[in-house]
Symmetry: C2
Subunit: 418 residues, 2 copies
Amino acid sequence: MNTSTLSPQIQTICSNAQTASKKLASSATIVRDLFLERFAENLLTASAEIIAANEIDIAAAKANGIRSSLLDRLTLTRERIAGIADAARQIIALPDPLGHGELSTRPNGLQIIKKTVPLGVIGFIYEARPNVTADAAALCVKSGNAVILRGGKEAINSNIAIANLARAALRSVGLPEDAVTLITDTTRQSTAELMNASGYIDALIPRGGAGLINAVSENSKVPVIQTGSGICHLYVDESADFDMAVSVAFNAKCSRPSVCNAIEQLLVHRSIAETFLPLVQVKLADKNVELRGDAETVRILNCRVAADEDWHTEFGDYILAVKCVSGIDEAIAHIDATGTGHSEAIITNDYARALEFTDQVNAAAVYVNASTRFTDGGEFGLGAEIGISTQKLHARGPMGLSALTSSKFVIMGNGQVR
Amino acid sequence: MNTSTLSPQIQTICSNAQTASKKLASSATIVRDLFLERFAENLLTASAEIIAANEIDIAAAKANGIRSSLLDRLTLTRERIAGIADAARQIIALPDPLGHGELSTRPNGLQIIKKTVPLGVIGFIYEARPNVTADAAALCVKSGNAVILRGGKEAINSNIAIANLARAALRSVGLPEDAVTLITDTTRQSTAELMNASGYIDALIPRGGAGLINAVSENSKVPVIQTGSGICHLYVDESADFDMAVSVAFNAKCSRPSVCNAIEQLLVHRSIAETFLPLVQVKLADKNVELRGDAETVRILNCRVAADEDWHTEFGDYILAVKCVSGIDEAIAHIDATGTGHSEAIITNDYARALEFTDQVNAAAVYVNASTRFTDGGEFGLGAEIGISTQKLHARGPMGLSALTSSKFVIMGNGQVR
């Protein structure tokens, strides 16, 4: 353990979380589910207190001139708190991911079970969204993990209120309250220390902008699961149904531009560009989407010219980069060069191209004739998610409860030697 | 991609491996299996050349005064090469881990498949064992991955010979030869560069001593799978069958002391120590095992006193640290404090203690009444293995072909929007 690099505060938090994780790992499903029910009740009962804490955060954020989209994510209302409580209750209904496995008996009589177990202690670094504090606590405890939460500084008062309710719920069912710990030091120092806490933290999950995720992935000594950065593309093939392509492009860009599964770039087969681009331009104008095109697109649509960095930017806004391509190979090469491995889609009626696209595109989710906006644990039928992994190791795509587990081989013998 | 930190040589190797990995990912099972057959044939046909290259390595190693156990691992004979070829052929019989998945259809008609795909490019850093070069090439190609091999410098000539045979086999079946690349720069610089090759290498697997594994885990910007470091314990409970405990202790220590699943420490319940320790001492004397005891053990056995570092050392030799404990809780705490999460065993006839041990011990493989020496892909029925993971993320325990895969969600729609 790199204890020498940790401050006494963080070391105590990590050590207590590790102790709590051991008790949690052997707790019964019904106790963890009861925690979820109590936590949901606490959230509802203490709505006024949460909102009071949230108002302090909002006032500070406004004083600091925070962007309106971020302010919206930060804001809690009685209705939103009810939604958060409901989300915790929905996790009760999900099957316990722990304690499963298949038995195999070897010729020498050894009985071997590969059993699902919790990861242990999860470090979770995220943006200023207080609902994520509750979701992460609920998912981690359900899957038998202790969690150390390091949320965005703008939400600190809201997060303290919510984390305290989770800790009270843990105590009320006899689970160790240190299974959920919020780090109140929201400087970069605390993030750096979590990255050094190997031996204590089993997995670090950063969620937020590409800058945070890359910094954590590159510098962490603790294993990392990357989530959330999404530069997603929609490729409209020459064989595409135009109505479908317009509808999917509009939905993928406009239904919620701030989220990671929204598209940032539209790629169009050159042979249909003259006809298709004006159609999609008209529809996107409904939401005043700003188009930034390559030279060919600009010639057709008379839109703004895309800068080099526009092909590597997650706009998170009503902005769309548009490029004409010579066909599926150029589209795939462009996705390879500019994508983040999140969600990619093709609109086509050509069977071979659908197959080529799904085989060749290197992403967590690859769509044919559907919107990238479906990349989500709920939409995929996994239940709630802690994030969307864009890496290949451990978990890829929406991460439900099973992504928060590991396994252990349990071998029962009667004296076997090798 | 951190291309700026890579030398032109390593960047070219990484880039070529990435291109090769894409072709390999869409190759048919039968072509990858045919590669394995040709590779096996090449190894047999070119045995004399491999041995000639190996003799150069052996001569240099002897001149440098290499340890005899390492010299043995380095040495290739006609018989051992036949064994390596046979291991490659056995992989043909294993099922293709790629292209599997279950279809689920969502209420909105979206058809979602979570499909197994290769990881992509695997970087493999290992000790001076030329057989591992062949095993890694065979396992990676079978699972559709390109591999960049960085073997120990003592085996460089043997490795070049074997890697060239793998590349010839790839060419002969129409697969890109860059699917298997050996790095011939065996300085620390090349290891450091592989750790920086994010964007090219999807997973880095270090295999060898604890020093290498820790250095790679802590400094790599590429995701790492830790393997192989094993400080394993056998705890003999007061209810143990003494004959079984002696037999398992002897096997776990002496059947192959240099491997990671051999035990380094014997923990004995205080109440049986006076009777049991002399029995196991007599048996271990058959192999002249050096015992290093805590104060209580030394009093009973009159053996050498264990130094502090002996409780944190993977001896890899006929040396065993021995400690008396007050019971299962102290045994588990000691394993927690000194183990590497590899393989741990209890000998007991007490049901509750067997359950407590398997539930509480935090290791990849936990045994009741059997030798830790069984932690092995073949013994567990997984087929060949590329290493034994001692981490919790992605894979834990012996890693067969499926540990070399990731997944991709493929979603087929007919115009769905959200």
